[in-house]
Amino acid sequence: MKLNNADHIPPSYQQMKDRELVHLFRKKDDQVAFRELMNRHQAKVYSYIFSMIQNRETANDIFQETFTKVITKMDDTYNEQGKWIAWVMRIAHNATIDHIRKQKRFVDVTSSYDKESKTDFYERLPDEDSIGQQEKLELDESTASLLKHISNLPEEQRTVVMLRHYYEMPFKEIAELTDVSINTALGRMRYALINLRKMFDEEHEKESNSV
């Protein structure tokens, strides 16, 4: 299908449901349908990946890897009965977690423990990565601080927070995606909020001590 205006998507496509668009793309090679699917969901998928990795370049790579898999595997592994975006998020989540785990494998944890800050290399790594990114994104101070604290959460807590925030995923689906019970998913969110609260308090304490 050849398009005259690459950016224009007819209103009729914008009114279609995801599954109708997926069907058009799979069966009729309808590129407009695919573009509309991307328009709808790319920000959620990208924001999720970025919030987990906090590095633009890596987030770009994982985003591309995710959609390459989506396109190549859609005919074989996607069942049209299920929600397309849930299937895409599973691919994005797996690619993101794979990347985080691969990164961790290259580091000797015990040798990099910092007694002063009571953190290991993993805990400090996202901070260092995120500083440059936050500058590039020109975030305000409180958002940058929030992102920094989120990056210090354990991976499983960060995952629940981000899936819920960016995708508004029900806890039942988060549980399925991360292979845990609903109660565990809810518990991870609770710990994440409690930990963030502690981090904010510590930050405020530091600020008031320095004044």
């Binding site: 590129q31 929030l146 909020l193």
Partner: protein, 94 residues
């Protein structure tokens, strides 16, 4: 973590059954510690509204769309025999 501990989260995120919610609200009226926990966690959760939603760079989106175009083209070429083969088959069978 016990189900009792996670009720606060289910309540804050509107994922409670109606009957469970009625019971929880009743408890909330009589338990100030529970009320403080709900308000505290809700307040932290509210901070997420400040998180930016980010679009991928345009060149990345374009490369994904190009890939989709080429991939589909390849798949179709691989699976659909050319028209003349179909015509030839009809002639042979006919």
């Amino acid at each position: 973590m016990s189900k009792k501990d996670t009720r606060t989260i289910a309540y804050i995120f509107n994922e409670m059954d109606p009957s469970e919610e009625v019971e929880f609200l009743r408890e909330l009226e009589n338990n100030s510690n529970l009320l403080i926990e709900v308000e505290t966690l809700r307040n932290v959760n509210g901070q997420f509204n400040n998180l930016p939603k980010m679009d991928p760079p345009k060149h990345i989106v374009k490369s994904v769309q190009d890939f989709a175009k080429n991939q589909k083209k390849n798949t179709l070429t691989k699976h659909s025999p050319p028209l003349y083969l179909a015509v030839a088959a009809v002639i042979v069978i006919g």
